[in-house]
Every structure is written in structure tokens, then in C-alpha cells.
Amino acid sequence: MKIAIFPPNSLILADLVERRGHEPLVLQSEIRKKVTSSEIDSPPLNITEEDPIKGLKYAAIEVPSGVRGRMAIFGPLIDEADAAMIMEDAPFGFGCIGCARTNELCMFNIRKRNIPVLELKYPTSKEETIELVNKINEFLDSLEEKNG
């Protein structure tokens, strides 16, 4: 199954999803298309004509362009997902996930899709980390059972 993860560039979430035989929908695979495509003049600073159009599907025109630009990349990943995992309160320096409004919009879109969602908090202690891993594994196994 295709699992959307949030933050979409998390090492722990992506690795655990793969270990259970599912496919994590990660941000890096989308970024790869942007930075290796010869059609873009000086990647990753430029965007294509298509990107703002894609972003408009998820955020209105009056929404800051940064949110729309990010949603052009995150949105299709959320649309593609069969299930999702959200890890809230991730540290601020979590890669390019520095936009709080985009994060809220992403989480809203995930919840709106009515797919199985596991909501977690970023762990701060050993006990919390162990519980997080067990919960993720339990959730991923339950998805397998539901789908045979």
C-alpha cells in the first residue's frame, strides 16, 4: 500500500514503512523530478508553469505563494495515498517543512481524505520512541490484515 507520511521527509517514518513492505510516499522522490529534469533551467530555484496550477487545487489564490508552491509538491502525494501517518510537533529544523500553514493544510487534507490515519507526536524520550515504533508497526500490520 502507498503510505503518505508527515513530515514527508522523515527518515524514521519512511524506513519503518519500507520495513513492513509498504511504499512510503516521500518528498524526496518529487524533489528528484525537479532537480534532475533538464527542462528546468537552474533547478531547484525555478518552477515550471504547471506547479502554480497544481497548487491552486489545494490552496486558493489569496493564500501565500509559498504555501501554494509547497502544496504543488505535497498535494499529489496526499492524493495518491491509501493510508497516512502524521507525526506532529516535529522539530523546527525538519528540512523544508518550515512552513506552519502548509503543515496545517497538509494535515487537513490527509484527515479529509477518509483513509486510515495514524496520528503520533514526535517522541522526546526513550519510552515514547519505543511506543511510537510499536504503534507504527501495529498500524502497518493492521493495514495488511484489512487488505488481505
Binding site: Q28, I31, N137
Partner: protein, 149 residues
């Protein structure tokens, strides 16, 4: 006259080229040098770059997947992998050219702190109950809002 095309050389689709980061957990049985040596010994067409956290490998999608599968077998609970957008040693991201850590490094550093506990949890799996999140009624929400006043 253009030179005849070599039938053995086929053009590669850039979409099939992937990059993977291999991250060694704090209690890994192998070092970065050993990791890179094992990757070289696989004798598969990969671009391998040794890094402080492990290695970055790049190449055809199926070849990279094969390498990831094999390397996980070396130390299942302490080797973690993650996709990467930029190719290995890309001057736009490589710290040798840019000066200073690349953007994603700070995140990796933060998540690295948890890897020891993650590997412990993977070694000793426990049954836990996953609570399903449900919407609350407007009355309940009103009650919570009043309590927070």
C-alpha cells in the same frame, strides 16, 4: 556521417535513476568504511559516496533497491535508509562546494538521536493498542473550550 550506435549502450531514463542515503545507527556493528567496502564488494553498478552518517548510493532503481536489501541484511536493526532527491556529490548540495551543512543534515541529526531507541524497539517488538482518532461532538468541544477559559 554520424558514428554508428552501439547496440549495447541504451539511453537511460533520468526517472529511473535514484539516490539512497544509508544511515548507520549509533549501535551499528559496522563502521562507515566497512559499509562502503561491503557496497563495493557487491560488484553492482553503483555510485557510492562515503559520508559521516554512512553512505549515499546512486544508480538504476532496481540496482539501488537490490543494494539496499543486501545491506539491510548486514545489520537489520541498525541500518536505516532514506530516499534522496539530489544525486550523490551534487554540487548544489555537497558541503565541499557549498560550505556548511546541507539543508537536510539538521533534520537527519535530530532523527539520529532517536535511532538507538528505534532499533531497540525493532529488536523487541511489543503489542500495543492503537487508538483510533474520532471526531468530537460540538457539545464536547464547547465543554473543552469553556474549561480552557
Amino acid at each position: 556521417m554520424s558514428p554508428p550506435k552501439n547496440p549495447e549502450v541504451t539511453e537511460k531514463n533520468p526517472d529511473d535513476q535514484v539516490t539512497r542515503m544509508i544511515i548507520l545507527g549509533p549501535s551499528a556493528d559496522i563502521s562507515q568504511t566497512e559499509l562502503v567496502r561491503i557496497l563495493h564488494m557487491m560488484e553492482i553498478p553503483l555510485t557510492i559516496k562515503s559520508t559521516c552518517y554512512g553512505a549515499v548510493i546512486g544508480g538504476d532503481k532496481d540496482v539501488v533497491e537490490q543494494a539496499v536489501q543486501k545491506i539491510r541484511e548486514v545489520d537489520e536493526y541498525n541500518i536505516f535508509t532514506k530516499d534522496r532527491g539530489f544525486p550523490p556529490g551534487d554540487p548544489r548540495r555537497c558541503r565541499a562546494k557549498r560550505g556548511g551543512a546541507r539543508e537536510g543534515f539538521h533534520q537527519l541529526e535530530k532523527e539520529f538521536e532517536l535511532l538507538e531507541d528505534v532499533s531497540k524497539a525493532l529488536k523487541n517488538p511489543q503489542k500495543v493498542k492503537v487508538k483510533e482518532c474520532k471526531k468530537i461532538s460540538p457539545e464536547e468541544f464547547r465543554k473543552i473550550a469553556e474549561e480552557c477559559k
